[in-house]
Symmetry: C2
Subunit: 425 residues, 2 copies
């Protein structure tokens, strides 16, 4: 492939005509394609239908709790074990909640802001301005939640090994208004990177150097076991590192079964120090008598002892989709110097970077052609990608044939947009 | 029975010796009785075990939604119909949530306080001091939730027909800091009263006379269909009254299946004007991708079309318990002038008023005898019963024999305490 920067004006003209013709052919087909949906496909959901046959009239947890009745804010012990296995945290340090880990994150952020997360922790709001580090590109719901609480976000570049920790450490040491950092440490949304052992260690030690004594690490381990290849890469244990560093109460780890069983009907987990879990329970007691323990028991019975086998079955469905995306991007864009992308080994997304200033144009052109992409900018706080170049590809929900058609459209849109840009340059 | 105020000193002495002897006999038995638990008994939970056989591999809602996957903040249509039937509100005005209506109440209160419940509604916090009316005796979790938000509570006496509306209307008309009133309109916790048609109408019209333009009615219809006798008494429709009054967006109605199916694994509902439901969805979208729709579908399939029959089965289990409580109170305390109590036709509680200043003493004496009662004062904001006389009896969880033993202890404690008080008077 010729790098497009080296093309002559005439060559570009010829290429542009060809691409426009292809694009016109595509749009005449009235497509209705969608790569926005970071959710499991139907065949993945089918893998968990046996969830519905776990009770058989036996509603007692291992400790003798009738899961049908009220009570139990911490969650039943077998579900805490499941959460512990998923998050790589001891069951004793896990609280089990309802179907949304995002709701737990919201609760934790609000508690940190207004009340303090452990006895003696000053609420963030007491020290005036509150800021958190947001590695970018990242997860739009983290950003929306943070913004809704009036907390300012400070972007930090996410590399292949995690956030740039030199910048993070320096800023956190200097600036007491920085109270937290958001992390999706394994198969990060959307880049798919895995934080290196070094980054995990440094993350656990951040509270020791932070100017803010109430600094916390928000560790959203949403894709902890969502591997495509086995044996799977291993994320270093934040819990173990924090134990060594003596910073456990500054670590808030989140997980869920959302993309393990039924996306909308799972259970979620938070892991931390006992003092933090107690504070969370205090806050929860104002809002609920307890989460759905029956669904907790259902999940523990279904998954305990067979989690890896279950995730391998997911991988069998997902791997061809991720392979197809990689193949199409490679075949269509490799060597042209107009885009880069990630090749994740797990998770739910592929991150595509086009030439600066072109992401919005690519997404709008795709829309014209009948392909819905996540809005450009969505992977940045306030929807503002400063370079307007990142596009999130969500390949899991589409069937293979639709995914193939969608990737063809996307590749043409990237090429056409790049060529337009080079022609006017 | 002789009214105890008319007893001579000698008669009191004889009686006191007899009662102390009975009390000593009881405490020597090492009892472990409990009347604190306002939750269904095991045989009630058994009534809903068929919930677990509703899916049969069919996960599509009537409108074709795969309930296993993400999405759908409003809830599936058949669950909205169920909520509508329970709350007496059109399905179009219902949002279905997770297993806790308390969580919905918390969300509504927080939204009203900080953001406003509908477009153009000034958040309560903007007008300085915020107060709400709390009919007493009432529900301790309403009080704890309200206090946690820094909102002041103003007690109002709850009569047999509902709160004293003359006082409420006058205060609300005069005082713009009063922003809301908590109501449990049918089988109120703990008195069991049902608001009269007149009170319901006046409630719907309160926003029209309130000095606060952002006044709302918090209508926790927790026992809407929890009747003991059939045909059941009917609560007037707040929705219809508010439609007439043009005050629908000021009405927040709550309900749940918690004491209909599985107490800890049900679904909950909020009913209001469309503008309010939209605002609630906005707030919810910061915390969750959607509630557990699978459990919604399970509930709709199980209950739609047979709700009344199901509640009659509950009543068959509960009626003997409430009858026993009434019988014991009547036999032990009637005509003595030392206590009054309610005889509810539904709900989960009986409210007992002892002589002023004695409730704490009765509860602590009962504890000595091995009977746990809800803390005296719990039915009032901040745990402060100004007359120290109200005691909440929760007869649903105990088995009949334990309930009988517990009521015998309670009756003796009430009598002994009253006699001690009369002797020192």
């Amino acid at each position: 492939m010729t790098h497009w920067a080296t093309l002559s004006r005439d060559q570009r003209h010829v290429l542009a005509s060809e691409l426009r013709a292809s694009f016109t052919r595509l749009t005449s087909n009235r497509l209705a394609l969608d790569l926005t949906r970071g959710k499991p496909g139907t065949s993945q959901l089918e893998l968990s239908n046996a969830l519905d046959h776990q009770m058989n009239g036996d509603y007692k947890s291992r400790e003798g709790v009738d899961v049908r009745n009220y009570g139990g804010l911490r969650g039943i012990v077998e579900a805490r074990e499941l959460g512990g296995e998923i998050m790589d945290v001891p069951a004793a340090n896990v609280l089990v909640a309802g179907n949304s880990s995002l709701a737990l994150m919201h609760l934790v952020m609000e508690t940190a802001l207004h009340r303090g997360l452990w006895p003696g922790m000053a609420p963030w709001q007491e020290s005036g301005k509150v800021r958190v580090f947001t590695p970018v590109p990242g997860y739009d719901r983290h950003f929306a939640l943070t913004a809704s609480l009036g907390i300012e976000m400070q972007n930090i570049t996410l590399g292949a090994d995690g956030p740039d920790m030199d910048v993070v450490r320096e800023a956190v040491r200097r600036d007491a208004s920085i109270k937290a950092i958001w992390c999706v440490p394994k198969y990060s949304n959307p880049t798919g990177c895995i934080y290196s052992d070094e980054v995990v260690l440094q993350m656990a030690e951040l509270p020791k150097i932070a100017a803010a004594r109430n600094f916390v690490v928000l560790w959203d381990n949403a894709y902890a076991v969502h591997d495509l290849l086995f044996p799977a890469p291993r994320l270093a244990s934040l819990f173990a590192a924090a134990d060594l560093a003596g910073t456990q109460r500054h670590m808030l780890q989140f997980g869920s079964t959302s993309k393990i069983t039924f996306a909308g009907a799972g259970i979620s987990f938070v892991g931390s120090d006992e003092s933090v879990l107690k504070r969370i329970e205090e806050q929860l007691s104002l809002m609920t008598v307890g989460y759905d323990k029956l669904n907790q028991l259902r999940h523990a019975r279904f998954l305990n002892g067979r989690l890896t086998a279950h995730m391998q079955a997911h991988a069998q469905i997902l791997r061809p989709k991720f392979d197809l995306v990689a193949k199409k991007l490679h075949a269509g864009l490799s060597g042209l110097g107009i885009a880069t992308w990630t090749n994740p080994q797990g998770g739910y997304f592929v991150s595509l970077d086009v030439m600066p200033g072109l992401a919005k144009r690519v997404v709008s052109l795709a829309k014209e052609a009948g392909l819905a992409m996540t809005a450009a900018g969505a992977t940045f706080p306030y929807g503002l990608d400063p370079e307007d170049r990142n596009i999130r590809i969500a390949p899991t929900f589409a069937e293979l044939d639709a995914l193939e058609a969608a990737m063809d459209v996307l590749v043409i849109c990237v090429k056409l947009t790049a060529l337009e840009s080079l022609q006017t340059a």
